[in-house]
């Protein structure tokens, strides 16, 4: 089980801030494919990966990152701090 978190408009499009996902995905990209196949709202949220960023166990990374031993994956738009 992996905790999957969504922030900002990704959270709004999917309709929840976090969920537990049972997955055999090996990479973040595989997980995205699984999520997109679930329902239209997921498909829509992940339709343009260039507009998304991903963190694995709270570290910013890429979509080809491995999920081996990972507890938490977060998807969000580019950050706007400061």
């Amino acid at each position: 089980m992996i905790d999957v978190l969504y922030f900002a408009w990704v959270r709004e499009r999917i309709g929840l801030p976090r969920e537990q996902v049972k997955t055999t995905a090996k990479t973040v990209a595989d997980l995205v494919v699984e999520l997109r196949s679930r329902e239209e709202r997921y498909d829509l949220a992940f339709s343009d990966l260039s507009a998304l960023r991903v963190a694995v166990d709270q570290k910013l990374t890429d979509f080809d990152a491995s999920l081996s031993g990972v507890r938490e994956v977060a998807f969000f738009p580019p950050m706007t701090g400061g």
Partner: protein, 147 residues
């Protein structure tokens, strides 16, 4: 080094004085403060800032530690608010302490450039005409290249 991610307002003067007080060997203190700015064509009612608890503190700590190491700072401070803010309120501040001013200025700019696009905050603007997420700017990404 102190990192604070908080909902409540901070006192710029008190924070700056407190930061400056501890550093007799540092000749330069630079501070930068970010303010919620009103929009010229569409008055801003509020700005809501969402963040990623846990990752936010870790990301800010890593960014600040890199600045401390790179510019041999005596100290660094980052305060960043989240939640609902109104125009004119202070969103965040950074402070840097170094022996000479150049390092303090550069390190403060580095902190600002990195926390714009590498710290997990997302701004949402609420205006009279509607509301929406603030899009990131390509200049913010480009700003990182000079470091």
């Amino acid at each position: 080094m102190r990192i604070s991610v908080q909902e409540q307002a901070f006192d710029l003067g008190a924070e700056t004085s407190c930061f400056a007080a501890g550093h007799k060997d540092m000749g330069a203190i630079v501070t930068f403060t970010g303010i919620v700015r009103d929009l010229p064509d569409d008055p801003l009612i509020a700005m809501e800032i969402e963040h990623y608890p846990g990752m936010t503190e870790a990301a800010l700590t890593e960014i600040a530690q890199t600045a401390v190491d790179r510019w041999s700072l005596g100290d660094a401070l980052v305060i960043h608010r989240h939640g609902r803010l109104i125009p004119g309120e202070m969103i965040m501040m950074v402070a840097t302490a170094s022996r000479h001013r150049k390092d303090a200025f550069e390190a403060a700019e580095y902190l600002m450039d990195y926390l714009k696009s590498r710290a997990p905050f997302w701004k949402r603007e609420i205006t009279a005409q509607g509301e929406g997420w603030v899009a990131s700017k390509s200049e913010d990404e480009d700003a990182l290249k000079r470091w």
